[in-house]
């Protein structure tokens, strides 16, 4: 039986194309499961998963929790707001305390890049990175690529533009790695202040003009402007940002083809994307959300099977 090449999912950087394909094939199966009247399977019975969220999240957390519950895992939730972190406990101690209560897997979101990598070296559990600062958000990239595959048949050979705040975005970075591993071509588009200076060394193109970027691509992934991560002003006003990098119906109608529109959510309607575009059939935003559960079920299932395999 095929299995993942890794014990943890810390980032797309650390997994292979075969891993991604295996996750997709497994997700196909779980997508069928969650559309059944009885959505639950016993695959992860006896596995306990802790969701550790050191940073706010609604959809990722819900998505993971649903994935875990539909696999019949036991789930405990932890958020930094109500925790001992505020009392000065270190991350390793916090997690080891939770693990000593016999937890098998940890799903962690953390504001600092590399927090998942750090933890994986110091604690004995399978770690799933649910977003670490501006580093990676691997399950988001997996569900994005899975959604492209579902919509267009294949990711290989497709042209994808990621628009917006690339500088502060773990979604962008993970998407770049995943898309490239699957054979897609990637460009980024946004104000130069929000594009990492050395991004092109990742084999990614840069296009400053949204219209040209849209004309080039098969898929446009519109990122949210992450005001909460910006400690200085990278552009003068949201209004100006929207004028240059907001996706609207007029721009889409001017194209000689129909492109796929994506957004990792939550949407700032009227900023990076107008409502009529977000709600149109060209946008697969809600498919992404649904696929998120199936993809996360696949990731958890495959990682858990490695734990059980090791114990045999």
């Amino acid at each position: 039986m095929s299995e993942l090449s890794v014990k943890h999912l810390l980032g797309i950087k650390y997994i292979t194309e075969d891993d991604i394909q295996l996750i997709f094939e497994t997700a196909d199966h779980f997508k069928e499961v969650i559309n059944r009247p009885i959505k639950k399977v016993p695959s992860l019975r006896d596995i306990t998963i802790a969701n550790l969220f050191f940073e706010n999240s609604t959809r990722t957390r819900l998505s993971f929790e649903l994935a875990e519950k539909r696999l019949s895992a036991d789930v405990v939730n932890f958020s930094a707001g109500s925790s001992s972190v505020k009392k000065g406990e270190t991350l390793i101690d916090t997690v080891n305390n939770i693990l000593s209560m016999k937890v098998d897997m940890v799903v962690m979101r953390h504001p600092n890049p590399g927090a998942g990598v750090f933890l994986s070296k110091h604690v004995d559990a399978s770690i799933v990175n649910a977003g670490d600062g501006a580093h990676e958000h691997p399950t988001q990239a997996l569900l994005d690529c899975y959604s492209i595959r579902e919509k267009l048949g294949d990711v290989s050979g497709k042209k994808v533009v990621i628009v917006g705040d690339i500088l502060h975005s773990r979604v962008a970075l993970s998407n770049i790695f995943a898309l490239q591993k699957l054979g897609a071509t990637v460009k980024v588009c946004g104000p130069k202040t929000l594009i990492p200076k050395y991004i092109e060394q990742l084999g990614v193109g840069f296009e400053s003009n949204l219209k040209k970027a849209l004309q080039w691509c098969d898929v446009a992934n519109m990122l949210r402007v992450q005001n909460e991560r910006m400690d200085i002003s990278y552009f003068p006003s949201t209004r100006e940002y929207t004028q240059q990098f907001g996706l609207n119906r007029q721009l889409l109608d001017a194209l000689d083809k129909e492109i796929v529109v994506m957004h990792p959510g939550p949407i700032n309607r009227g900023v990076e994307i107008t409502s009529d575009v977000a709600d149109s059939k060209q946008a697969i935003i809600l498919d992404q959300v649904q696929n998120g559960v199936a993809v996360r079920m696949a990731v958890l299932y495959l990682l858990a099977s490695k734990i059980q395999h090791n114990e045999d």
């Binding site: 950087k13 270190t90 991350l91 390793i92 953390h110 504001p111 600092n112 890049p113 590399g114 927090a115 990598v117 750090f118 070296k121 110091h122 670490d132 600062g133 501006a134 580093h135 990676e136 773990r170 970075l173 990492p196 200076k197 050395y198 991004i199 060394q201 990742l202 400690d231 200085i232």
Partner: protein
């Protein structure tokens, strides 16, 4: 102390007529009594060591311990033991303590604590009160007491006028001002070198530009004011160029490079290992190439270990929260020797002595015995067992180093490693 006879020692000292020659060296009462092809002195204690080389005692221009205030990082006593074992007869001890060394009494404390040690300690006073970067500390008073330079350790001088005044004011008493090369408005909250690796890792970057802008500003100020400026720990290709041009112009500027920036690149950051979180940040191969060239052609005046101990709690944490710095005394010579030849190593480890006002004595008859004893050959993997420091935060862990230190001779004392 009775006489000591160093047998068959290769002398590495271009200022000595015995340079690169194998000699017996007789030391009596702290003075080099005789140097000859073969000396027989039955009363002397003979020291016979494999492939023994000797040079003028080494000097490290940027060392931090933790006393007072951060004794859990390192005490002065153990720090000096570390320096001695690592071959240094003199260190410039930064005032990054708690309280910082910003007054005569702080300098007195360090001098008092270290008097008579085999390692000579030269305290570095802070440039500003409480190292806050606002008002000048009592520089003259500290200089009189023994401060050899003034430096707010790794804190950039944000206010250009403050540096202007410092460079002017210190001229009266030949004070040496240090300015950390980083423009904080460009570096901002950066953690590592801004390049492809920072992009891949999602870590905020410190552009080379931030260093180069600050050096450019400082050199302009120096040209205007006169005075003596030392730029500690440069790390980029363009910085080497800037210093080279300034020296050509005749400006009174010197600079150092940290051993970390000379040996390691930001490729090391791949696993978010906080031992590689240092300032200046680890840069690229291209920068190392220029730094090495600058060291060889004399643009860079010396290499420092930039020894900066931190506790496990400071380092075993998320990368963002970890303290900057690595210990380096123990691995400095071996790391240097692994990348340059012995003569360049010794030049790098002694080149800043005069600039910091430390009396240098050639390895010649009649000189005070200020010597480092070493073997330039033999590679080994640097591991925790080689660490003497209280803190173990070493960027060089696991690296292959070359050469070993046998000990030092200074202050009429000899210190030999077991």
């Amino acid at each position: 102390m009775s006489a000591t006879l160093l047998k068959n020692a290769t002398i590495v000292d271009p200022t000595s007529k015995h340079h690169l020659k194998k000699r017996d060296v007789l030391v009596e009462k702290g003075i080099i009594k005789k140097i000859a092809a073969s000396i027989s002195e039955p009363k002397a204690k003979e020291i016979v060591l494999k492939n023994l080389h000797i040079s003028q005692g080494w000097f490290d221009s940027s060392v931090c311990f933790g006393e007072p205030g951060y004794e859990d990082r390192e005490t002065i006593e153990n720090g000096l033991k570390t320096a001695a074992r690592s071959g240094f007869t003199a260190i410039a001890l930064n005032g990054a303590t708690q309280p910082v060394l910003d007054s005569k009494s702080g300098i007195q404390y360090v001098k008092g604590k270290t008097a008579g040690n085999v390692v000579e300690v030269y305290p570095v006073g802070t440039l500003t009160m409480q190292a806050k970067g606002e008002d000048l500390a009592e520089l003259f008073d500290m200089k009189t007491e023994g401060a050899i330079s003034f430096y707010d350790y790794q804190k950039p001088i944000e206010n250009a006028n403050l540096l202007k005044i410092a460079l002017q004011y210190t001229q009266n008493f030949e004070g040496l001002v240090q300015s950390f090369p980083m423009d904080p408005s460009i570096a901002r909250k950066g953690l590592v070198n801004e390049e492809i690796n920072s992009t891949k890792l999602g870590l905020k970057g410190i552009p080379a530009l931030s260093e180069e802008l600050q050096i450019t500003r400082d050199l302009y100020l120096l040209e205007y004011t006169g005075g003596k400026l030392h730029i500690p720990t440069i790390s980029t290709k363009k910085s080497v160029q800037l210093i080279k041009e300034a020296k050509k112009k005749g400006l009174d500027v010197t600079c150092s490079v940290s051993i970390n920036n000379l040996c390691l690149t930001d490729d090391e950051l791949e696993n978010f290992d906080t031992n590689f979180k240092v300032l200046p940040p680890l840069r690229t191969k291209k920068d190392i190439k220029s730094l090495l060239k600058g060291l060889k052609d004399g643009t860079i005046d010396g290499v420092t270990s930039n020894h900066d101990p931190h506790t496990i709690e400071d380092k075993k944490t998320e990368f963002d929260h970890a303290a900057y710095g690595s210990i380096g005394l123990e691995s400095c010579f071996g790391a240097l020797q692994a990348i340059v030849n012995t003569e360049t190593s010794i030049k790098a480890l002694t080149g800043l002595k005069e600039r910091f006002g430390i009396h240098t004595t050639p390895v010649s008859e009649g000189s005070k015995a200020n010597l480092t004893l070493f073997n330039p050959e033999g590679t080994f993997q640097f591991s925790e067992e080689h660490i003497v420091s209280t803190s173990k935060n070493a960027a060089m862990l696991g690296k292959t180093l070359k050469g070993t230190v046998y000990g030092i001779f200074h202050n009429k004392k000899i210190f030999l490693n077991e």
